[in-house]
């Protein structure tokens, strides 16, 4: 029983960075932007959060700094894809490489290649009083970092905004038919740019959670595909917040399974459990790609005639 409880609790925790980042990407994807650069944004968020927490001594101020820095980084992506109208995939790849180079350079300059990283303030478990005492349910759902609760609370909010508000309607129509939007006076470029900045905010929080919630410091390349998995979660979740929650949980569970197998495995080489999340991502893409809500204008820069 304990094993089962810990498996589900771990699933929720491991699903959180994917869910946070994916809830941002789902808006920029709906607006017609393919954001391959999420991986790099999370990496930037992870490092700037650590630096912020190190300097201010407070994990929340650190996260705030991570958000600011990541939004600035996302603005570069927005500049190249929306203003310059360059190829989104290539720019995204460039952003990932840029994040990788910059974080390594800054990390080495600030903290050196020291073997023991300095202590920083990090996210702590915040059990919800009362609820966390319920047997089974309590430890699974109500004994987590605050960001875990926030990520899941954001799902209905994101759903409401996307399907019940003017903002959501604008975002969706800009992705579906930019030309028509332009005709009726919706500013296509601005809408896309803002949705990119929004995905930057959430990628920054997601990165901070990886470096200060799941681990307690920055290591080079620590996102290890998490941004791409979040992107896949959006495709697998068919471009809706609810679907994204479902697919994040699937990826979280595959990660949890990996840890279980690693802990249990007697003769399964550790590399095979490590492949599980990546294999599940590929399989899930193959299942859903044919019947998808992918916006028609996805990936194409909009150019006024």
């Amino acid at each position: 029983m304990n094993e089962v409880v810990s498996f589900f609790s771990t699933t929720l925790r491991l699903a959180t960075p994917t869910l946070l980042a994916a809830l941002g990407i789902v808006f920029s994807e709906r607006a017609g932007v393919v954001n391959i650069g999420t991986e790099g944004m999370m990496l930037v968020g992870a490092l700037s959060g650590v630096i912020g927490s190190y300097v201010t001594g407070n994990v929340w101020l650190g996260t705030l700094i991570a958000i600011v820095v990541t939004v600035l980084f996302a603005a570069i992506f927005g500049f190249f894809t929306v203003v310059v109208k360059a190829d989104q995939t290539v720019i995204g790849t460039g952003m990932n490489l840029l994040a990788s180079g910059l974080t390594i350079t800054v990390n080495r300059a600030l903290f050196g290649a020291s073997t023991s990283p300095p202590e920083i303030d990090k996210f702590v478990i915040a059990p919800i009083p009362g609820l966390s005492k319920i047997p089974v349910i309590g430890p699974i759902f109500f004994n987590h970092h605050i960001l875990v609760y926030l990520a899941f609370l954001l799902v209905p909010i994101a759903h409401f905004v996307m399907f019940r508000t003017n903002v959501g309607l604008k975002v969706r129509s800009v992705g579906e038919n930019p030309k028509a939007c332009d005709t009726v006076g919706i500013r296509v470029g601005m809408t896309r740019f803002l949705s990119i900045l929004y995905s930057g905010i959430l990628a920054g929080i997601a990165g901070s959670f990886v470096s200060m919630g799941m681990l307690s410091f920055f290591t080079e390349g620590m996102i290890a595909g998490g941004g791409f998995i979040a992107l896949a979660a959006v495709v697998f979740g068919n471009y809706t917040p609810r679907g994204v929650m479902f697919s994040s949980l699937v990826f979280g569970a595959s990660n949890a399974l990996m840890y279980r197998l690693q802990a249990l495995a007697t003769n399964v080489p550790s590399q095979f459990p490590l492949m599980i999340p990546y294999v599940i991502t590929i399989v899930s893409l193959c299942i859903v790609s044919r019947r998808s809500n992918k916006p028609l204008g996805s990936g194409k820069p909009y150019i006024k005639e």
Partner: protein, 386 residues
């Protein structure tokens, strides 16, 4: 382009190096800001060391060429796929699987004559990468899954596979504490061939494949079909071309090119397969090389050597300055990708427009090209006519 005069030819040449030149200069400028911010060394000193380490003398140029060889292969891989309308972000994994397959053949069969063993190893390297590309192509065509995420996921899977093999089936029994394969058999290795230099015969293979890339895409029917499908899929379909088959074949070849690069890196430079064999992101750097070289054969050669110099020089820069990290080179590479992909921002508007609409054989204006997501990145003027 046959009927152009000397002056026009010169203008064409100038125009084809204008964007790469601006991209490099701007990237170096921003890179110097990064150096200023993260170290106590002046950017000029740092770049001086870099330049010396890249092209300062014969030994430096030697090291540059050695670093350029794998980049040329991964750049050809990206270029070929891009020319057929596919973005191959999987060169990283294809490179690794090529290295893995080559190692398996290269260590497993001692006492073979080199004339059999070496070609078999190279073929294994090609196939190792090509099969990963083939898998990507089949998943894309059969299930409509985006190749972007699939190739990236396959990169991570390839990394775990390498780790499994060097810790398991391919682990060297003589040094069982290290996760590495046995050394390659002498009959499966490439050697240096210029007296006084360390650069190996892989350079010749790279030049041959640059030529083959040109020959295949511009002189064969299959290559022509591939470029048409890449430039305008509906036109290709209308002309009766099988887009699915073209996509799968392109990814097979692109994977093979990257795999061959991985194979050569192992049999010529590293000598055995290790986890540390893949510290340099050859696959992703190859994207920058391909873009800077405008997906053209000669462009890939020159930008490959330039980027080889950037990596070789970055190492010297780190050693000599002691406080400028070699990762600054990665920053510069990334910036070059951004500024080449976003090169419209440097366009000298009036002239560029009027020239390209004056009717090249490709017949696309700049705006047309930017609108068409699947069109190759090369500006219309770089086309020698589809």
């Amino acid at each position: 382009m046959e009927g152009l005069g000397i002056k026009q030819r010169l203008q064409e040449t100038l125009k084809s190096i204008y964007f790469p030149f601006v991209a490099i200069v701007v990237s170096l400028l921003i890179g110097s800001v990064v150096i200023l911010a993260t170290s106590t060394t002046s950017p000029l000193t740092a770049y001086g060391h870099m330049l010396k380490g890249a092209f300062g003398n014969l030994a430096a140029f030697d090291a540059t060429l050695i670093k350029a060889i794998p980049l040329i292969f991964t750049a050809l891989s990206f270029s070929l796929a891009r020319r057929s309308g596919i973005i191959n972000l999987g060169a990283e994994g294809q490179f690794m699987m090529g290295a893995l397959a080559a190692t398996a053949v290269g260590v497993a069969t001692p006492n073979l004559p080199a004339i059999i063993h070496l070609p078999a190893t190279l073929l294994a390297g090609f196939l190792g990468g090509a099969l990963v590309g083939l898998l990507t192509g089949v998943l894309k065509v059969r299930f409509g899954a985006s190749e972007l995420i699939i190739t990236i996921m396959l990169n991570y899977i390839a990394k775990e596979l390498i780790s499994f093999f060097v810790n398991g089936p391919l682990m060297d029994s003589a040094s069982s504490s290290y996760p590495q394969s046995a050394p390659m058999e002498p009959s499966a290795r490439l050697y240096k061939f210029i007296p006084g230099m360390n650069v190996h015969t892989g350079l010749i293979i790279a030049l041959v494949f640059i030529f083959l890339y040109y020959f295949f895409l511009w002189k064969t029917t299959a290559g022509f079909d591939m470029r048409v499908v890449g430039f305008n899929p509906s036109a290709g379909e209308y002309a009766g071309m099988n887009i699915g088959r073209s996509t799968i074949f392109a990814l097979f070849l692109a994977g093979g090119l990257a795999g061959l690069g991985g194979c050569i890196e192992i049999i010529a430079v590293q000598g055995r397969l290790m986890m540390t064999s893949f510290i340099v992101p050859y696959g992703f750097t190859g994207i920058a090389v391909a873009l800077l070289g405008n997906l053209n054969p000669l462009g890939v050669l020159f930008s490959g050597i330039l980027f080889g110099g950037l990596s070789a020089g970055a190492l010297r820069m780190e050693v000599m300055t002691r406080n400028v990290s070699s990762s600054v080179a990665v920053v510069i590479q990334a910036l070059i990708i951004l500024f080449i992909a976003g090169r419209q921002m440097f366009a000298i508007k009036k002239r560029y427009r009027s020239r390209s609409s004056s009717g090249t054989s490709a017949g696309k204006t700049v705006t047309d090209e930017a609108k068409d997501d699947d069109a190759p990145l090369a500006p219309a003027t770089a086309e020698e006519g589809v």
